[in-house]
Point group: C2
Chain length 115, copies 2
């Protein structure tokens, strides 16, 4: 029953706005903790904790360089999320197509003076 899956940690990691902003910031390039601390208005420990969550979710990687620790996005980290969505992609597109057809049909009926 305790089937904790990959998308679990990812959704949780990205659910917090501050953490998502940090993550988005990292997509624009590798950054050290001090950089992020300067960029955002929360304490350095808070930044480190967020990075810890992102890391254990597989979304970022660490690299040490002297006193600095640089974090960068792990591109493969997003895969489980993409897969989760893709699992229902057929559903989404099918439904969206059906909706478009429906709206089109209704539009045509209205033009013809139908209900």
């Amino acid at each position: 029953m305790g089937t904790a899956v990959a998308e679990d940690r990812i959704f949780q990691a990205l659910a917090d706005p501050s953490r998502r902003r940090i993550f988005e910031s990292l997509t624009r390039g590798e950054a050290a903790v001090k950089d992020l601390t300067a960029r955002f208005d929360i304490s350095q420990p808070a930044i480190s904790q967020h990075l810890g969550h992102l890391k254990s979710a597989g979304l970022v990687n660490r690299r040490r360089d002297g006193r600095n620790v640089y974090y960068r996005v792990e591109p493969r980290g997003m895969k489980p999320l993409i897969d989760w969505i893709a699992h229902y992609r057929a559903f989404w597109t099918e439904r969206l197509d059906r909706l478009e057809r429906l709206l089109k049909t209704i539009g045509e009926q209205r033009l013809r003076g139908g209900t």
Copy 2:
């Protein structure tokens, strides 16, 4: 600064495992609250609350039929999430491609007896 965006509610809605299971269940077809209450091991109010969250996140719709209230997935609801991911798609694919090339290169080096 309080820029609460669409993906905010979506990520939050999908972050909870129970709620995500309910949502996934709905992707397999429309269902009434009583159906979901029978399907899952949590109380009816809990189900209704989860559905409320999913609804206000734009992920599901309501339809009343007599005493029953049927919920169904709103296909367009996923769009903000897909867009959010797609916004970095160039990033992901670029990085993934580079990674693949790198791994390939390393593999070739190893075959040639390199480090």
